[in-house]
């Protein structure tokens, strides 16, 4: 009984949905004015970064005059596959997919290709075997973020005669951002020939809680005297570490210089307060750039397989001016 009622409601909703789609101005073929219908299958709303990302894409689509069909998969791949199938049925012009996981996309991506709908990946990627089934991926270049942090460190500590002593708070062990932000950073330090020593490097799991706990242990084990630089792979860990440094009676940003990656409001606020020395941005607001890529793809162009998101770097002189622009 209940099941039947549910099925009825579902069917009704489906019909209504179809009617709504068909009833628009010229349906989903897009207008003659170059406006597109874009299906966006987003991961979910699991973090402030993600929320800012969704908002940026929605705003950019509206500003460009495109119709965006937005789907929140709540971190469930099944729901995402259903959403992509839905977009195929609706004959959208371009599908944008931010895959929850890397594997299991072959079938549905093949269906999109058979239907002649180009797929653009946003933020995260899919496994290499499916590389032919999407046009391009727009996302952050984590290694480049690490290199930017490394370049600043190499320049700032170039005159440090007794060697630069570095503490590192890594992200989740084995995750792509943690691996690449680490390797990019030290790649540049080595290339620049900086005389440095990694005093300790441990995972803080991208959270403030563990970042603070690990920093406390660093402090009791190594002390802070003589430590020049803390490199935290994200804001949250850096903010936790700053608390630990303050509770140990030292001044973050002065007694020990601090680099963080991400660039959230809270991170910039810490920068304005003088507690952070350098921020490398990991930019969620790539909506406008995504629209450019989507328009190019819809026009039949084939961009590079990977399009890095434009991301800035900020030092102490820029924090205050940039703070109001932060979206997450």
């Amino acid at each position: 009984m209940f099941k039947k009622a549910l099925a009825g409601i579902g069917a009704g909703a489906l019909l209504f949905g179809l009617a709504a789609c068909g009833g628009g101005d010229g349906g989903s073929d897009g207008g003659d004015d170059g406006s597109l219908v874009i299906g966006f299958a987003q991961v979910g709303a699991e973090s402030a970064w993600r929320t800012a990302n969704s908002k940026s894409v929605q705003d950019a689509a509206e500003a460009a005059g495109h119709t965006l069909k937005f789907n929140d998969a709540q971190q469930d791949q099944e729901k995402q596959i259903e959403a992509v199938r839905g977009f195929i049925n609706q004959q959208v012009d371009v599908i944008v997919l931010a895959p929850v996981v890397e594997t299991g996309w072959t079938d549905v991506l093949q269906e999109a290709e058979d239907a002649g709908i180009p797929v653009v990946l946003a933020d995260r990627g899919v496994e290499a075997a499916d590389e032919d089934l999407y046009v391009t991926r727009l996302g952050s270049d984590f290694a480049e973020e690490g290199r930017k942090a490394g370049a600043w460190a190499a320049e700032t500590f170039a005159a440090d005669a007794d060697g630069t002593k570095i503490l590192e708070l890594q992200g989740t062990t084995g995750s792509a951002p943690a691996n690449d932000r680490k390797s990019g950073f030290f790649e540049v330090l080595d290339a620049e020939g900086l005389n440095y020593e990694i005093v300790d490097s441990q995972s803080g799991n991208f959270t403030a809680e563990e970042g603070k706990a690990v920093m406390e242990t660093f402090i009791t084990t190594h002390g802070l005297d003589g430590i020049d630089l803390l490199y935290a792979h994200n804001d949250e860990m850096g903010l936790g570490a700053i608390q630990a440094i303050e509770e140990a009676g030292k001044v973050p940003g002065q007694d020990i210089q601090i680099i963080i990656v991400d660039g959230s409001k809270a991170g910039f606020q810490a920068g304005v307060d003088g507690k952070v020395n350098y921020i490398v941005e990991c930019n969620p607001a790539f909506g406008p750039q995504l629209m450019e890529v989507v328009e190019a793809v819809a026009a039949g162009e084939t961009p590079e397989k990977f399009t890095p998101v434009e991301e800035g770097v900020f030092d102490a002189t820029q924090f205050e001016a940039e703070l109001p622009n932060r979206q997450f």
Partner: protein, 349 residues
Amino acid sequence: MNPYAKRLMWPVLILVALIVVNIAATGIDFIVPSVNDGRLGGAFVNILRRSAPLMLIALGMTLVIATKGIDLSVGAVYAIGAAIACQMIIGQEDQSAAGLIFSAVALALIVTAVIGAWNGTMVAYFGIQPIVATLILMIAGRGIAQLITGGQIPKVQDSSPFTQIGRGEILTIPVPIWIAALVFVAIALLTRKTALGLLLESVGGNPEASRLAGIRSKGITVLVYLVCGLCAGLAGLIGAANLGSADANNGGLWIELDAILAVVIGGTALLGGRFYLLGTVIGVVIIGTLDDTIINVGLSSQWQFTAKAIVVFAVALLQSSEFRGWILKPFKPKPEIAAPAPAEEVPAK
């Protein structure tokens, strides 16, 4: 040796071994407390302070496990408690008002106690298996916490007295250690100086027989889940106060597993019945010390889980009388027919 002390012997030995390793790696400073800014510090005191949330949850979990139950939702309840308090405080102009902080803490504790009681009700009155009943909130709870915080991480001002719950000190001893110690003493007195402990063990041993003997086992079951939820909420408050923020996604993530581990290391069997509060305390300190040990001896982060597994494996084997008997067999007098050499099969860790 009385059986209680015997139960505790192996966990204590492991803890002492861990402490010796740390002292060898970093010097005697590891164990000697220092005072800075009027607050007791030093590596080991820091471990105790950071272990306080896990301690609270593990104590609650011990009671639940004693009734042959389990509570998987404590991590999510931790996040909910933290979210409620922080969200309520940041909504106000004056984040330092005593009344505001008191009501934020009270509201968080009331809600988490109600959640615990709900878990207990599902187990006791609806007959749902504990692992299923609490799994629901383990999964849904973080969603609730996200709804409370609107998907953001609420940050309380550093000047708010709320943060003192996690960072402050009373008579130089950090507040979290006070809270954990008080809760331990309260639970120990309640269960060992009243009949409650006996009733608990009876319910865990055989609920039906207990009922027939006139024990109101359902009420007791609801009570222990309520206490467990309350402990998780209190743990969440300490965690949130320590950071001055509440992270609905990551706050207290996987703490339920560490808590169960601490209970088991402490000698309480998952089968219900007898429970060892002091054993749980030692189990928690072992887990807290382990994380620091990995950093102190210079192992990389990749080793964290492996090292934990090895130590837990060692404790579990040492606690098994079958294993000890098997290992010691060749050294005992009166060898029977050529005993098989055990050396090749013994994972001596």
